[in-house]
Symmetry: C2
Subunit: 237 residues, 2 copies
Amino acid sequence: MGRTMPDNAIRPRKEFGKTIAADITHRLREEIVTCGLAPGEPLRFDVLRERFGASFTTLREALTALAAEGLVDAQEQRGFRVAPVSRQDLVEVTDARVLIEVELMRRAIQKGDDDWEIAVISTLHRLKRIEQRDPEHPLRDPEWKIAHRQFHQALVSACGSATLLAIRAELFDRAERYRHLSANFRPRPRDKAGEHQAIMQAAISRNADLAVQLIETHIRSTADNVAKYAGHLLETE
Amino acid sequence: MGRTMPDNAIRPRKEFGKTIAADITHRLREEIVTCGLAPGEPLRFDVLRERFGASFTTLREALTALAAEGLVDAQEQRGFRVAPVSRQDLVEVTDARVLIEVELMRRAIQKGDDDWEIAVISTLHRLKRIEQRDPEHPLRDPEWKIAHRQFHQALVSACGSATLLAIRAELFDRAERYRHLSANFRPRPRDKAGEHQAIMQAAISRNADLAVQLIETHIRSTADNVAKYAGHLLETE
DNA sequence: CGGACCACTATTTTCGAAAATAATAGCGGT
DNA sequence: ACCGCTATTATTTTCGAAAATAGTGGTCCG
């Protein structure tokens, strides 16, 4: 314990054992992915300092990390901005996701053990529960978002490659930003529940070809929806 | 120009227009990839400060960026260290490289135009020239290293996806570190020149299946060599 | 009127000191 | 002697001031 820490520290500024920088990275990523910070928006230090209550250098560290993930655009000597969106980027991200996720799905189906099956089933169960509660605007519900992420994560978790899982996670975040972008304009959510159910069944029954085909359709149709309902937001460079 | 900058600034501390942090990131990456900094070695700020002549926060920013690339391991509240190596990691990196590079090779062969062909041919030409000069220890020669990287980069450059190219580049660096690890123990370089020539020819003649097969063999045999001649260095962690 | 140059302002980038945390050594009780 | 605890030291992490750089507007000359 530090020798000068006062006993009356009101509340922890951050999670125990984590650095402030890591915490800010987390929060900033969340804001960017959910479009709380709009694509292309400049990230000025004064503003961030006010919003996150951290100093220049700490913020800078967080921004650098997010730049490496492709969520932030670092313009040397001219600061940072939220990574811009574009049709081209959406296509690239979708394409890369299909390539990697399809491969990981195959590997997970081949390698997955009992724990994997349980994880897939239980994460889907939770997702469905949340959807029953509020079937209108799932993307607005932070709980749905987390459950949705966890279901897709569980599906491929047994693939055996931490390296590829990390890459997949980055691409997932970048794609999620596009989903949020179109969420306000999409008239009604399509039948995601049914798709998830079908993917789960194909995976558990070890039908790799079917599971892979469903996943690919799932990813591509999501991207198509974004292009359709948020196309007007994709023209700016 | 800053109002207090003295006229007698001896030499630029860094390349024009780039931040010091970006410069340090570059130099640190180089040192790690070439194993000038050994895998697992702790990266203490005093030492780095001395070696690179930058301050805490600037170094921290560079380390954070490299952590996102997988070359540095950040242990919260306990500093940074060079990412450790392991048999498992080597397998994962090799696997991921094959998956991605094979796909990019196909796309490049399908999309590549005249400029692409010229880039492939000319980068291979330079590579061969350098090999003629000093056929013994190519990995020791920084020029060979650059030319080798540029040839492989040129091969896939026409794939059309900046996203996948960035991922590929990261994996290339991580693999190159393993090559350096085994360079000191490998008795003689195998016939890389011939392999490169064959890959080039298959690519230029648009024989995708052959090119892809050669690339995969090329990547896997490199990894096998590392495991064979540097296996004793992979047991830690 | 236009456009190069300069002074001034806004903003980012870097630095080293200070705070927080982890690692280590020394001490006292059982 | 050995374990647990506290004081000390080593190291990382954070901060805000200061330096460097980019941006802006105004002025002077052709």
